[in-house]
């Protein structure tokens, strides 16, 4: 076992970054000239909402959970916000739109924390309920129009000195999560709960409190991600962020977070989201039948995960 390998094992983010760089290199070979300021900004713009939704998955996965309602929650927030703007103006609409997000999160937390339901099933259920509620809600606002506030569009699509404005939101957000996961009591509990809930209990941790807070936070993050995404896409719809559900899970697991809990972290997830976004671009630009594209997409995901494991594993 060499020093280099020990380094890789202790910092699994490094090989992930290397793999990302390789993919970008491959893309540049495929389409010379594509990797420029504009492309990077676009990629980052699209990776950010994905990375935010993947934060919901990362945090819940640390406790052995998952939040399958996150993409729907994001959609709900964005749609509710856009349809409320004509009535209440942007600031109030933004605040109001986060209410259902937190509510769904709390419901998840109650189910997981107090009723001991598996997170996968409860978030699937609340996602269904959320979808239904959204459909019912939209049938009441068809005629009133919708509007994406300037500020969100600026945040979602704009660039300043070449940097996507979304970074204004994302950098502090990511810094907060990265800090919280290892340097706050709450972060430590997420890992401990996912690792051995019984042990955490014996150490005096009341699991339901953690779950309730966690899923509420997850709902809030999803809501904010939805607002950012609608600023980027500028077309509120009933399924806006729904296509991000599987990718958000994928970003977290490619980034090295275990669905069984106790392992991983947000840094890997961010790179995971970037990798997926770059892969999406490759898929778009490949001149091949759609079937072949998807096979390559899956194959590369598997390859990245396998290489990453090889590089960081000690066994």
């Amino acid at each position: 076992m060499t020093r280099a390998k020990a380094l890789l094992r202790d910092h699994p983010i490094i090989p992930l970054l290397v793999l990302l760089a390789l993919l970008v290199g491959l893309l540049e070979i495929m389409r010379p000239g594509i990797v420029g300021e504009r492309w990077i900004a676009n990629t980052v713009k699209f990776a950010i909402p994905l990375a935010m939704l993947a934060a919901c998955q990362t945090l819940t996965m640390l406790t052995g959970g998952i939040d399958l309602s996150a993409a729907i929650v994001a959609t709900i927030s964005s749609f509710v916000m856009a349809t409320l703007v004509p009535f209440y103006g942007a600031p109030a609409a933004i605040v109001l739109s986060l209410v259902p997000a937190v509510l769904i999160g709390l419901l998840n937390g109650v189910g997981v924390g107090l009723f001991r339901v598996h997170p996968l099933i409860i978030t699937l259920g609340t996602g269904l309920i959320g979808t239904g509620c959204l459909q019912v809600y939209q049938s009441t606002v068809i005629a009133t129009g919708s509007e994406v506030p300037e500020a969100l569009a600026w945040l979602g699509t704009g660039r300043t000195w070449g940097f996507p404005n979304a970074l204004v939101l994302f950098v502090p957000f990511a810094a907060l999560i990265l800090y919280a996961q290892r340097r706050t009591g709450f972060g430590r509990l997420l890992y401990a709960m996912g690792d051995n809930e019984g042990a955490a209990r014996l150490a005096g941790v009341r699991g339901w409190q953690v779950h309730l807070a966690l899923y509420a936070i997850s709902g809030l993050i999803a809501g904010v991600a939805g607002l950012l995404y609608v600023g980027l896409i500028k077309a509120p719809s009933l399924s806006l962020a729904v296509p991000l559900m599987l990718p958000s899970v994928a970003a977290a697991v490619i980034g090295g977070t275990s669905i069984f809990g106790g392992r991983g972290g947000y840094a890997g997830t961010i790179v995971g989201a970037l990798i997926l976004t770059v892969l999406g671009t490759m898929l778009t630009l490949l001149q091949m039948p759609e079937g072949v594209r998807r096979i390559l997409f899956g194959g590369i995901i598997l390859g990245v995960a396998a290489i990453h494991l090889r590089l960081t594993d000690t066994r």
Partner: protein
């Protein structure tokens, strides 16, 4: 004690199913043999997907590629049967089953070889199999042999029971044929052992890798049955995977199979599938606003698992 509780869960599900059947009869007094028959037929692909998922989950994994594998099998069957209607279609069925099992085994093999977590591998394979399905058939098409389609339509007169839907018989016979011999064998035990504690299983002398491959292979086999049932019920192959992934996970968990592995059987998930289908049917019969019906389906799912969680917690203290 634990066994009692497990069976209590299945009994509870059976009671819910019975109540739902009763409710259906109340909502629609004409509900009868044909209703049951169409229910069974509708449940077929869900049931196979669920059984496939259940086997993998019992063995401690999860298969996100189930619906894509079904799609590949469905289009393969539909393409091959186009123009090969007669006896050849029997061979095609066997071939597709073998292909499904092989695809599943490949999933398992990749998990074992790369040591990448199940969820990542099967997520990647979800895209791969989706791509394969599109290469085989780029739009809905192909066809199914008519005599095969007849197999799952209508009822089978069984003494004492009246007409039992063929689809139901087909489902139970196939699942029992594959699962029951395995369940009690060393292989079956290994599935549960690996799901329960892979390290302890390895130390007890179980070949963990082989067991994983078997689990995924079985899942592939059941998924192939699901894919075939899709082809048989629609008469064509559709390359876009249907809504079977999340539905299978939901039914597996509702059916008392614990995510993480080692616990549960196939009966619970099967009952859960019928419960979910029947809820759907009742909502249509009641002509509930479609948007509200999503809310109701979600609520039922949440409430049932919450009650289950509550009961389990009571039992634990």
């Amino acid at each position: 004690m634990k066994a009692l509780r497990k069976h209590a869960w299945i009994t509870g599900l059976a009671v819910i199913l019975a109540l739902l059947i009763l409710a259906t009869k109340l909502i629609q007094p004409t509900f009868g043999a044909s209703g049951v028959e169409s229910l069974a037929r509708a449940a077929l692909p869900f049931a196979f997907a669920t059984v496939a998922q259940a086997v993998v989950v019992i063995a401690g994994g999860i298969d996100l590629s189930i619906a894509s594998v079904m799609a590949v099998c469905s289009v393969t069957a539909a393409v091959l049967m186009e123009g090969n209607g007669g006896a050849a279609s029997l061979g095609i069925v066997l071939l597709v089953l073998a292909i499904g099992a092989a695809m599943g085994a490949l999933n398992g093999l990749l998990i074992t070889l790369t040591r990448v977590p199940d969820i990542v591998v099967t997520l990647a394979m979800l895209f791969v199999w989706e791509g394969v399905a599109l290469l085989i058939l780029n739009a809905p098409g192909g066809r199914a042999a008519d005599w095969l389609r007849g197999l799952i339509i209508g009822g089978l007169p069984i003494p004492g029971l009246g007409g039992v839907p063929r689809a139901l018989v087909f489902l139970l016979v196939l699942v029992a044929l594959v699962w029951l011999p395995i369940r009690r064998s060393r292989t079956g035990l290994s599935l549960y052992a690996v799901g329960s504690d892979a390290l302890a299983a390895f130390r007890s002398g179980v070949n963990v890798g082989r067991t994983r491959i078997v689990a995924y292979g079985l899942a592939g086999l059941f998924a192939a049955m699901g894919g075939l049932s899709l082809t048989l019920s629609t008469g064509i192959g559709e390359p876009i995977p249907g809504p079977y992934l999340l539905a299978s996970v939901a039914a597996v968990v509702l059916g008392g199979v614990v995510l993480g592995g080692g616990k549960g059987g196939l009966l619970g998930p099967l009952i859960a599938v019928f419960i979910l289908r029947l809820v759907r049917m009742d909502l249509t019969l009641l002509s509930v606003d479609p948007n509200v019906s999503a809310i109701i389906e979600g609520t039922i799912m949440v409430v049932v698992v919450m009650i289950g969680g509550l009961l389990a917690a009571k039992g634990r203290l």
